[in-house]
Amino acid sequence: MDYWLSAVSLVSAWVLYVTWLAARLRRLYVRVDAASRALDAALVRRALGVAELAVMQPVALGSRADATELAAHGALRALAEDREAAESELTRAVQDALWSAVLQSGALESRELESGFTEILTQNRSVETARALYNDAVRDMCALRRRWHVRTLRLAVHRRRPTYFDIDATLTTALPQPSSTATPVAGPRS
């Protein structure tokens, strides 16, 4: 009798644990999905903003206006597998335009200059935030998927494994330092 009792309670504890794991998995999928949509929206807003700046205020972008506009359209058109490369390309194009504008206007007027870029810088910051939030969600998801129970019971088998979104998204008004080896834009900040 005692034997059965303990066996039953063990099994039910185990069932509860697995149910709890499944609930956590489901919650994380919801989180990854929503974060992914938010990231997509932020990226589209940024690309549209850059395209608009290139058309409406080409002066702000100077000689880089065409290249920047091209990169913006490239980012908007990119398919899922090319998206990271296209978005990184857009960041680099905007960064180049920003640096050349900073150099042209000189450090003194940099505050005024930023105003042409204010909206882009804001949109870029929300891209950075959305990317960090999304990648954190993916990381939590992957950690849970690696768990023994989740793998052996194949709790997550009917859902696609989420992938990190790895892009350069850091814009800075600070000029790269000649002495340092790394430029601020090089290398993704995970």
Binding site: A22, A34, A38, L39, A42, T129, A174
Partner: protein, 421 residues
């Protein structure tokens, strides 16, 4: 003020007023970095027109502002190298549920959720967009490493993670593999820049300042004392102003009798007196040997308009170099080799001889510290709120019985799907 607030709320991209629920883990009416952070962030957010409700343990209800909801009295718990006063237990849990249910928050912001506290409980029972700020200033914690598996379910409920420094971010990366966004600690610039210097200070003979626990070796007071002794011999007018809690007699014992009158000890000071003290010195010295995460006191000295001389720790270097476009060449303070009293004395001597250099440094410091002003920092936090709300489109609610009912209803379907797979 209202002008700059309008400007920053435009930057923040949040047009509508948010309902923000904020959980402070430590007793709100006791002194501490996290409490000050929560108070000043809440006030900055309220100035933007958002609704903020803070839930915190409170020992003396008459001592807190009206936007604070009390979680009751506290118990002492050891965490992060010191004793923290927290509220933890089933009673707190119930109160948190009730607060969440009545608050109708758009976003829940918890502080230090990995310590056993109300913040952790709130994470546990809430669902919806949750933002968490990590304040810890150390590398690894054995307790957290051991409890990793148990803490992960709490950690994974957080939608947006904020770390106040690179070190705090590192802590999250090492323990939970998830870093989040780095947003610096804010400083109430106006409070420091407008404080009245103490009568008779800074004077004409040069005055140096030190703030902190001077008995603690890693704060480096011994180094400053040594450099001060070397300098005071030739400069009878040079004065040293020291504020902070600790045993003054042992600290003074290192200083020879004949120059002891050049040292003024203030003891532990209030926030207002701290601002006045920092306004009263020509040069603020931060001789710390290590273990600093952000260098809050540097930003405060910079806001007060003192020339800053700090040891060359990464944390200090980052704060001082973060303003200009050219990095080091435009540093808002000077650095000396950490741990070297000779280098400190040499740097101090050079700065004392050069009032123009001090003025330049103070001007740059004012410029650099502007980015740490609370309205700017709060706008960055609002961006994370916006991101978290976009990434978890739901109201904050207590995760009550509804979850269980829904899970039961879904269970047969899940079983079928699992059998098919």
């Amino acid at each position: 003020m209202s002008d700059s607030a309008g400007e920053t709320s435009q930057i923040s991209g949040v047009d509508t007023a948010l309902r923000i629920g904020m959980v402070c883990p430590y007793a709100f009416d006791s002194p501490g970095g996290v409490q000050a952070h929560v108070r000043e962030l809440s006030e900055a957010l309220r100035q933007f027109g958002h609704h903020v409700s803070v839930l915190a343990p409170v020992d003396d209800e008459s001592a807190v502002p009206e936007y604070v909801d009390s979680l009751g009295r506290t118990i002492p718990v050891r965490y992060n190298g010191s004793v923290a006063r927290v509220a933890f237990g089933p009673l707190s849990l119930n109160r948190i549920r009730k607060w969440l249910r009545n608050g109708h928050f758009d976003v829940l912001h918890v502080h230090e959720p990995m310590a056993p506290s109300a913040a952790m409980l709130a994470c546990l029972v809430a669902r919806g967009p949750i933002v968490a700020t990590s304040h810890v200033a150390k590398h690894r914690s054995r307790t957290v490493a051991a409890a990793h598996m148990a803490l992960q379910p709490i950690f994974e409920k957080i939608t947006g993670r904020i770390a106040v420094s690179a070190l705090a971010r590192q802590f999250q990366v090492e323990h939970f593999d998830g870093g989040g966004v780095e947003i610096p600690n804010g400083v109430a610039v106006a409070k420091f820049s407008q404080a009245e210097p103490m009568p008779g200070w800074p004077g004409t003979g040069g005055s140096l300042g030190f703030l902190g626990r001077f008995n603690e070796p890693r704060k480096g007071f011994a180094l400053l004392a040594e450099a001060f002794i070397a300098l005071a011999g030739q400069r009878p007018e040079l004065r040293l102003l020291v504020a902070g809690p600790g045993d003054q007699r042992t600290a003074l014992a290192a200083i020879p009798e004949q120059i002891r009158h050049q040292v003024t000890m203030l003891g532990a000071v209030s926030e207002l007196d701290k601002a006045r003290m920092l306004r009263s010195v020509d040069i603020y010295v931060a001789p710390n040997l290590g273990g600093e995460s952000f260098g809050m006191v540097l930003t405060e000295a910079m806001a007060a308009g003192a020339a800053v001389l700090a040891s060359d720790l990464d944390a200090f270097r980052n704060v001082l170099n973060s303003g200009g476009q050219y990095g080091e060449a435009e540093s808002a303070g000077e650095l000396f080799r950490a741990g070297s009293a000779e280098d400190l004395a040499r740097a101090l001597d050079a700065l004392l001889r050069d009032p123009i250099r001090r003025t330049v440094l103070a001007a740059r410091a004012r410029q650099t510290v502007a980015q740490f002003d609370w309205p700017i920092v709060a706008a960055q936090v609002l961006e994370v709120y916006a991101g978290a709300i976009a990434a978890a489109p739901a109201r904050v609610e207590p995760e009550a019985d509804a979850e269980v009912v829904a899970a039961k209803r879904r269970l047969p379907a899940e079983l079928v799907r699992w059998l098919r797979a």
